[in-house]
Amino acid sequence: MEREKLKSIIECLLFFSDKPLSIDKLAEIIETDNCDEIKGAVEELEKEYELRNSGLQVLNIAEGYQICTRSEFSSWVRKLYKSQTTFQLSLPALETLSIIAYKQPVTRGEVEKVRGVDASYVLRTLLEKKLIRISGRKKVPGRPILYGTTQEFLRYFGLRDLSEIPSLEEIKPPVSG
């Protein structure tokens, strides 16, 4: 397939999709095995949007790509979507999420041990928001439920994949005293 046409098809798909599309998914739709070609075309598209100072951008998140608005134009979008609620996660929810992200798969008990408080309510909220999922059961007495993060977690925080969050060793807690 001609390169420009391929790019146009990809552009159309990345624009129309309401969630990030993986290279594999794009290849499946376009009916090709040449994932390298697809990836190359996506990256070219990404650069083109960048170069022409578009209001849109090809975003590489949640192990896929999606055409989204640029953050510097958010105020305009918000003027259009007045009713859009700006939902924000609470601090306990963010802490619980970060524990799960680093220690997954992890049980409720393990989460509670780190934070020192009951986690059942927060876990339920995070499950409802599809930011975490039940990934199995731990093979210990009682077979407690194991939790892990989801694609939605990556998308919500604009992460390409889990490796994009700094490792625990890299994180320097504020020096006390």
């Binding site: 309401d18 999606q66 979008v77 963010l94 780190v114 006390s176």
Partner: protein, 238 residues
Amino acid sequence: MAYRVRLDVFEGPLDLLLHLIKKNELDIFNIPIAEITSDYLNYIRLFRRLNLDFAGEFLVMASTLIHIKSRMLLPSIEAAEEEEPEDPRVELAARLMQYQKFKEAASILKEREAIQRDIYGRLPIVPQDEDYTIEASLFDLVDAFQRVVFRAEKEVREIIQEDIRVEDRIREILNLLENRRFINFGTIFSGQRTKRLLIVTFLALLELIRSKMVFARQARPFGDIRIYRAKQELMAQG
């Protein structure tokens, strides 16, 4: 019953300890345990006075602190045998350090959340009319029309000579759909006061359906019928 604020929804015992450490500018690895224990217990008493509902975990931490304090006061038997006795505060310090790291990780996520909130992707195409997916057949339409006529016969008694063409009704029906995604089958016929007008309207509707300018849909077989405008098919998004 008095209103009680659940404290643990906001902060846990580790948060309180970190707060005390920061406030008193203490070293996590060398916490003056007697001092911090009495500070901690003062807070617990304060929570009680303020009627704050705190979780049992706060009391568990209080007992942990008291336990560490007592271990530091009493020489332990094992410690006497070893060259360097283990500091009972080590475990607590490690927990606090680990918790701080996760708190820091949470603040990194919070920053990312703020950035990401300013980036908009397309909204999912919500099939708001997802229930109305069954294409109504001609028989369904005739049935519905018969019900309209039956109701009208009971109401309409006068005979009015009024000439209206199918083409005009087509335009009027499209006007009705101008700013709406759909209208109910019955709405099209409301205000049509003669049998002749009802028939003309029905023919107009059939013509619109035939030329695919509108769609007649039902949520279930024999259910009520909605008339959808055709050109919005792809733009179903809100």
